[in-house]
Amino acid sequence: MAKVKGYVEVNTQRCKGCNLCVVSCPADVLELQPREVNDKGYHYVYMKNPDDCIGCANCGYVCPDAVLTVYRKKIEEKEKV
């Protein structure tokens, strides 16, 4: 069975911590850093649940600051019996 896996690269210095990508994600993958901030003082986004990412790129489309690069790969999985 083919499964889709995604990965999101974050340009942390460009992020303004607006949270729009976080709420756009259908798989609850993203979160703003609760403590860490970038040089601008923003709590930047990171992949809290990387294994759940499906690479749909919703986060990339809604980000106003072009912070995110999104990858998607089809993974062939062995059928489980």
């Binding site: 990965y7 303004k16 729009l20 489309y61 106003p64 600051d65 072009a66 999104v70 990858y71």
Partner: protein, 253 residues
């Protein structure tokens, strides 16, 4: 799975648009302007028109649009972008010329320029960011401000008996014979972003095909002017603005 197994040119599905440069945008966190800038850049790149596009930036928060998208730009005096674009397009008919304007710029001080450029059917595209407020100057009432909406110049809320009703200027423009496309979209979800991109592409194609004036209104949020966080502002926009400014084509010839 680790990062190295997933990343690469073959698996890339989204990246910063090529024509958006590395300069960080001055917009407030979560501002719709940034999203629309990306769409403009992506469409121009996909059409292969980076060298033949001239944008006209407004007065308003997008006054610095020319700093972010790597094409030729001219910055216009407040509201005059359609007049400036008229001259540029008439003198350079082989260029794709568009304006990028806010609601204060397009629907208040620039009403005359907007209406007459559209009525003349100038072969330009107009990208219209309607965030129902004057964002740049600190959140004053715009012609598009909703009734009862609070701004710094209507602190009790807009009272239509004194201040008039929200101006549906794109509905008005759609009535003009010079206009070939008048559409209203939004960018608060990924699906909406993709739809808006398609309409911007159509507007730019129309401008090159000499079909007349195309207007793409993007119902937007200005979280700073509205005194909300970005997520609440997008939700407020969807709940309150889209009933007054519904999404859809008003004219598409």
């Amino acid at each position: 799975m680790d990062k190295n197994e997933l990343t690469g040119a073959e698996t890339l599905v989204y990246a910063k648009p090529r024509l958006v440069n590395d300069t960080e945008m001055h917009y407030c966190p979560g501002c719709s302007h940034g999203v629309v800038h990306h769409l403009v850049a992506e469409v121009i790149d996909e059409l292969g028109w980076a060298e033949k596009t001239i944008g006209v930036s407004p007065v308003g928060c997008a006054v610095f649009a020319h700093k972010y998208v790597d094409i030729d730009w001219q910055q216009a005096a407040h509201g005059r972008a359609p007049a400036v674009a008229t001259a540029i397009k008439r003198l350079n008919p082989d260029k794709m010329v568009f304006t990028y304007q806010g609601d204060g710029d397009l629907a208040a001080i620039g009403t005359a320029e907007t209406i007459h450029a559209a009525n003349r059917g100038e072969n330009i595209a107009i990208i219209f960011i309607n965030n129902a407020i004057y964002g740049m100057t600190g959140g004053q009432m715009a012609p598009t401000t909703l009734n009862q909406m609070v701004t710094t110049t209507c602190p009790e809320g807009r009272d239509p008996r004194i201040m008039g009703n929200p101006l549906k200027i794109v509905d008005m423009l759609a009535l003009l014979d010079g206009v070939c496309l008048a559409t209203r979209q939004s960018v608060h979800t990924a699906a909406a972003v993709k739809k808006t991109k398609r309409m911007i592409k159509l507007a730019f194609e129309n401008a090159m095909a000499n079909k007349g004036t195309s207007i793409v209104e993007v119902v937007s949020s200005c979280n700073a002017g509205w005194r909300m966080n970005p997520v609440d502002a997008n939700n407020w926009m969807a709940e309150n603005m889209l009933s007054v400014f519904p999404v859809g084509d008003l004219k598409n010839l």
